[in-house]
């Protein structure tokens, strides 16, 4: 069975890897150590410190920045048809110095193209942006969309942005202009309604609660209606909450449409048609519970498989999705739903060039 892994985290080994791709004065700043990069405000508790403990280079050192390691541990042994690179360096996390953040996003995109995407046709790329400067973000989307393997814009979920706000319109306009999709992924800054909690376990439980408001914000503020060609991917944010969000939004819409008449469809219909949720981290539920959830969602078009490689909560392609799920639905989760999302040619592994026209 063909497999698309929709959430694979490439990385650099050090922030200074971006120096060759930065313009001055930022090049000198980063080269001189003026900023040391993002640091998570917590300690990881897994044996591999946030990554799988077995992700190691040939010399035994831990490495998440080596394409050959990823190929040997993920791409080849699981025979992935495609792997969507989603990064985990999100310059939107900088709450000041927007020029630097935009330059970092641009440099990171160029780094990823040279050191990752160009090495393997199985990679699908995500365009990283500084969302806090939407006009600059739109220019970066236009620039990177020319690369045939770039197929989506990555919007990182931080602690102070709900992307339905009208100020982010240039990002969605640019994505639609370039026939790109839009993905959302948590960050080390994502929070629940009362912060991160007091423990890593608490923080990790709160991640879905940082993603749910993005769906509500996008639909309530008309993003789904305004950009009919966009589709939206929630990565690593859980999925069992979706029936509740659909029911709640439908009920609120029925009684409160007078306030938001730009919403032209039931929110649940928007979700079923153009929202996709990745499966990792699966929650060790039975195949029967998987099918109950899919039934409650009203379609088996929504879920897409992901591993989250190389992070510690990796889902094994051979183990995470129960074999007892009906074959047609399992194939949709592992292949078809994401293939349709990214408009991949079902019979050709070459990604067609759908860059800016």
């Amino acid at each position: 069975m063909r497999i698309i892994d929709t959430d694979v985290h490439e990385s650099f080994s050090s922030l200074t890897d971006l120096v060759p791709y930065l313009p001055e004065p930022y090049k000198s700043w980063i080269a001189a150590g003026a900023w040391r990069g993002f640091s998570q405000p917590f300690a990881y508790t897994s044996p591999g410190n946030g990554n799988r403990a077995d992700v190691r280079s040939a010399d035994g050192s831990a490495s998440v920045s080596d394409y050959s390691v990823m190929r040997a541990q993920l791409l080849d042994p699981y025979n992935l048809t495609y792997a969507v690179l989603t990064g985990y360096f999100y310059p939107t996390g900088l709450k000041l110095q927007y020029g630097l953040a935009t330059a970092l996003a641009r440099a990171y995109n160029d780094y990823v193209v040279e050191h990752w995407i160009s090495k393997d046709k199985r990679f699908i790329g995500s365009i990283q942006i500084n969302a806090r400067d939407p006009e600059a973000a739109a220019r970066e989307i236009d620039r990177m969309a020319a690369h045939p393997q770039m197929r989506q814009v990555m919007l990182p979920v931080v602690d102070d942005i709900a992307y339905g706000h009208p100020m982010y319109k240039p990002i969605f306009v640019a994505a639609e202009r370039n026939r790109l999709m839009v993905a959302f992924h948590h960050t080390t800054f994502a929070q629940g309604p009362y912060g991160m909690g007091l423990h890593y376990m608490e923080r990790h439980c709160l991640i879905p609660i940082s993603l749910m408001p993005q769906v509500i914000s996008l639909i309530a503020n008309g993003v789904f209606d305004s950009y009919p060609n966009l589709r939206f991917m929630i990565l690593e944010g859980g999925f069992s909450w979706l029936p509740h969000v659909m029911w709640r939004m439908d009920r609120e819409y029925r009684q409160g449409r007078v306030e938001v008449p730009w919403i032209k469809k039931l929110p649940s219909q928007h979700c079923r048609e153009r929202l996709r949720l990745s499966t990792q981290p699966t929650e060790d539920i039975s195949s029967g519970d998987w099918m109950k959830l899919i039934d409650l969602m009203g379609t088996d078009d929504i879920l897409v498989f992901s591993t989250d490689y190389p992070h510690f909560d990796f889902d094994d392609p051979n183990a995470a999705i129960p074999k007892a799920i009906p074959e047609a639905t399992r194939e949709k989760i592992i292949w078809k739903n994401a293939a349709n999302f990214y408009e991949l040619d079902m019979h050709d592994k070459t990604i067609p060039n759908q860059a800016a026209e």
Partner: protein
């Protein structure tokens, strides 16, 4: 039933994972603080991670938030991926309520014969 020499006894240490193979089947071996030897299947029963990359450590205990006690070093194995904890005393998950999952290590009969660690399957 057949006996298999899997490693030498002096390769073992408390807190150390010694990988070995019986045919094509990966196993891991370690020594408990009591001096007993444990040999077990090399794949995590949850999603199949290679346990040779895991870690053997102690167990945390607490009766009050933010007050951790660390005990029984060398008796707990953690999976290299998800960090699931298994007791090396009985192979069971340290976490209660995992009965619906296949969360038990496969422990093999193991003896020390001279300098050799011998597993019987």
């Amino acid at each position: 039933m057949a006996k298999h020499i899997v490693c030498r006894f002096d390769e073992l240490d408390v807190g150390k994972i010694t990988p070995a193979k019986i045919g094509r089947t990966p196993i891991i071996v370690s020594k408990l603080p009591s001096g007993q030897v444990r040999a077990m299947g090399g794949r995590c029963p949850h999603q199949g991670a290679g346990l040779e990359h895991g870690c053997i450590s102690g167990r945390t205990e607490s009766e009050a938030p933010n007050e951790l006690a660390f005990c029984d070093y060398g008796e707990t194995l953690r999976c290299p991926w998800h960090g699931f904890e298994f007791s090396l005393i009985d192979g069971r998950s340290v976490v209660p309520g995992t009965g619906h999952l296949p969360m038990k290590l496969r422990l093999f009969d193991v003896e020390v014969e001279g300098d050799d660690v011998v597993v019987t399957i």
